[in-house]
Amino acid sequence: MQRVLIGGFGTVARMGLRELFDGQGVEVVAEAEPDRGIVSCVSEVRPDVVVLDLDDDGAVDTAEKIASEFPAIKVIACSCEEPVMRVFPPFHHGESYASMLSAPLLALALSS
């Protein structure tokens, strides 16, 4: 089972993510607020995947920091406004690719 940390997002979006993760073999191990330090929470929890709110200021910086400090962790930054996401695969030194955001594509990004 994949262990996921959710960083940022409003209440509705978090509920949407949890809805999406249900039945995907994904366990949400923590939820972190941007201002409380997502990176320190990652350090504490050591998830397999971090799902960030791409609409938060500094989300990309946070993703790059996680990729740098915890290279084995995958980071997926999803927007709640536009249907787009940016995926930072593990062991890619912070390199990322952008993708359309849909439930199947997010599930694929989580599992692949």
Binding site: V12, G16, C78, C80, E81, P83, S102
Partner: protein, 204 residues
């Protein structure tokens, strides 16, 4: 008292996470009838009591078209309280509105319950914006329609109600109604004052 029969909610939003989240907020008597992104697939109006849709230049006319000649209730999701489309949506007959950034289960369910009970519901920030607008309705005092401006222009030439009616092929009663609307919107006591004000503001 709200009728506790199931109420079917269709959610249209182009972001899958937000859309799924709104669906997850639902609790009885609200049931998810279906969901779509930018009206694809088209909401099944026959199986929907309340359509929750994303307020934008495509969403509003699409929702209004679906709701025409039906009992479908409309709840708009607006990007912010500053969204000018909100005023258009309210004038067009939207029952409730929700701000995207403030949405949570409580506000969403409250908006749905109010709509189901036949009461409108708007976020406080939107109400404040509405109440702070100039007198004369939801449109501003300078937001006259082409028809109203046409009548005002002829009034400024000194034409009588009958002459304006003949010029514009309206009945005299229609012209009187338009003049009345203009006076209310511009908060003027008489035609001369409205003409003077419209001239000063560069409307005619």
């Amino acid at each position: 008292m709200i009728d506790e029969r199931p109420l079917r909610i269709w959610i249209d939003d182009h972001n899958p996470i937000f859309r799924l989240g709104l669906g997850a907020c639902l609790e009885p008597p609200f049931l998810l009838a279906g969901e779509s992104a930018r009206f694809s697939p088209e909401p099944d109006v026959g199986r929907t009591d309340i359509l929750v849709f994303e307020l934008d230049h495509a969403g509003l006319p699409a929702a209004m078209r679906l709701a025409a000649d039906t009992k479908l209730l409309l709840v708009a999701i607006a990007a912010s309280a500053e969204d000018e489309l909100l005023l258009e949506a309210i004038e067009a007959g939207v029952t409730g509105a929700l701000l995207r950034g403030d949405a949570n289960p409580a506000t969403f369910l409250h908006t749905l319950r109010s709509a189901a009970a036949g009461n409108g519901s708007l976020p406080t920030a939107v109400l404040g914006k509405l109440l702070s607008r100039p007198r004369g309705g939801l449109r501003g005092a300078n937001d006259l329609t082409d028809r109203e401006l046409g009548v005002l222009r002829l009034l400024s030439k000194g034409e009588s109600t009958r002459q304006i009616a003949e010029d514009l092929c309206y009945s005299e009663k229609t012209v009187k109604n338009i003049v009345h609307d203009v006076l209310v919107r511009m908060n003027c006591r008489n035609r001369a004052q409205a003409v003077a004000l419209a001239t000063r503001r560069g409307l005619i």
